[in-house]
Symmetry: C2
Subunit: 345 residues, 2 copies
């Protein structure tokens, strides 16, 4: 306030002594910048060790005079999606998409509903998907997300996201994004970081909405990877078709492998929420120097969900909590650290 009053007096003075106008303009500019400076970049976070860790990391790695300084080209931050940047209960959203798609296909081709493993998958509950073996998941993936041109898959995903609603809040899945994590992504980007998804969902599933919803462009989406096949359509136009050939299962040890394939550097910061993110955080820390490893802990049954050690979806075993404590990874308590979870709250 002192600055503003001083500025007003100077403006009044300058109206009498016109030759000082450039000086006054300069002063006003500085005053305006000072008055606006430092809005909280993480308004949905409560004060506490988690928020402090993020701010300290950003400060250390982007201040050229700090010993933890990181040059712009090495500023890479990786985010798991399900359970880290949006809700994953009662089932991972990419799996819910496969299931919805399988139901639609079974309506068009009833014989599909009588064939295993589709029969079991279609007859079981959504939670039951957590028990389906990986080999069967791959068959469901192949049946629902391959065989079409890559653009068509993107259209199908966006169409589903536009109409599907979750079971608890009856909202589009893209409304179930964690506002505090969007703020972290935005803060990091403001400071020259490239933000990547490194997550178990299909790469082209995420690409259908990642740029619009999260500000993450297609080239920064590392998901479970399948091959595509180049060919020509009837008019001789080049097309790429989604192939039922798995290149990389981007979960657990697959995450550092996916990071090597698509990024080729150690991340400077990594965010996860389950034992599927363990290796990504270990690998990030192995890069040495100033690194930030964070785990979202779901401990808020009232506002979201409380789960972890016993859950098949987003498993957070006690051993992971022990490793986090031992290695200095920062555990985010949704209950304590997040002032707001969703933008619409």
């Amino acid at each position: 306030m002192g600055i503003r009053v001083g500025a007003l007096q100077l403006v009044r003075y300058s109206l009498r002594k016109r030759r000082l106008a450039p000086l006054v303009l300069c002063f006003l500019l500085i005053a305006a910048m000072a008055a606006q400076a430092q809005p909280d970049p993480l308004p949905s976070w409560n004060e506490g060790p988690a928020k402090q860790a993020i701010l300290a990391f950003v400060q250390a790695t982007t201040d050229a005079s700090n010993p933890g300084y990181v040059p712009p080209e090495a500023r890479i931050a990786t985010f798991d999606q399900d359970g880290t940047t949006w809700v994953e209960q009662p089932m991972y959203t990419p799996m819910l998409y496969c299931l919805a798609r399988l139901r639609a296909l079974a309506q068009a081709k009833p014989e599909l509903a009588d064939t295993e493993p589709f029969k079991s998958v279609l007859s079981g509950s959504v939670e039951h998907l957590g028990n389906v073996p990986m080999s069967d998941i791959e068959k469901v993936y192949a049946a629902t997300m391959t065989g079409m041109p890559v653009e068509e898959l993107g259209d199908q995903v966006r169409q589903w996201l536009g109409t599907a609603r979750d079971v608890r809040w009856h909202r589009p899945y893209t409304d179930l994004v964690y506002q505090p994590m969007l703020e972290v992504m935005q803060l990091l980007r403001t400071k020259g970081y490239k933000t990547y998804f490194v997550t178990g969902g299909g790469q082209d599933f995420l690409r259908a909405y990642a740029e619009k919803i999260y500000g993450i462009p297609p080239e920064q989406v590392v998901g479970t990877l399948n091959a595509t096949k180049f060919s020509y359509d009837a008019d001789g136009k080049p097309i790429l078709t989604e192939e039922p050939r798995l290149l990389l299962n981007n979960v657990g040890p697959g995450k550092p492998e996916g990071i090597q394939l698509m990024i080729g550097r150690y991340p400077q910061a990594a965010f996860g929420n389950s034992d599927g993110d363990k290796e990504m955080l270990e690998y990030t820390q192995a890069g040495g120097g100033t690194r930030l490893m964070m785990l979202v802990h779901h401990d808020d049954a009232a506002r979201e969900y409380a789960y972890g050690a016993q859950s098949k979806v987003g498993t957070f075993p006690d051993s992971l909590m022990e490793e986090a404590v031992q290695k200095g990874w920062v555990v985010i308590s949704m209950k304590k650290d997040w002032k707001r979870i969703f933008f619409w709250e």
Copy 2:
């Protein structure tokens, strides 16, 4: 010069009339900018249709008032390496590395030199490598570029590049980079383009030097891709090991597939030099709108090499030239379009 003389007069005037100082400073700044404006961004290119095509493309896609304008996030340019951004005769440099490495391994383990396909590869001439079937190339690749931690491969490649010399100019291979193409990359980056390698060499081979030599960071290198394997070393530290498992042969139809995997968008511009780049150029053009497709044509035996239709290395069949003419791709004549080929000329 008129601007500079005028500025000097104004400075002299301002020394007498001190109150005009801010105005003079402002004027000097504008004069300095005008004097420096528009240095030729492509000084190693002769005036002609190829240079004109590049400048027109950059102007159209980066001027917001132009109907061909492309938003910054879609500004992606892809470059083949061998024969497009550096010399590929008498043999692709990544292959020469494998051969040198195989020789070193055979010295350490003489039984390797008696095992096929290594025996034939080691006994043949360098040019003979052009006849080796792909399945044998994969075995050589597996023997020389896998089994070690990813960092170790990078170190080995850099060590070789530091000592190996090419047969004609007796210079490091990194001296055989085409200066005109470096200028194109730099111009595109200045205008907000992300420049990518999309090339047949091994991804981690290129990453060992691409940032230093070309300004292309690891995450923008799309090469022939092999898997890595996550594990822990004896001290429990996470490591990634190069695996002998091919994920993508990034040549011909593999190039659009590699682009989809690592970028997930149509390139806005693509640069190649042989039939191995045909599908990349076709795919780029299929994106529609303002796209630039260019082919380097090696027609300068005096300053570099003249080859194409008959060569096994960098094959440029007549059908490719016909397709280029028919589809409006721009063919760069090294002889006519490049004023200078290497920085040391």
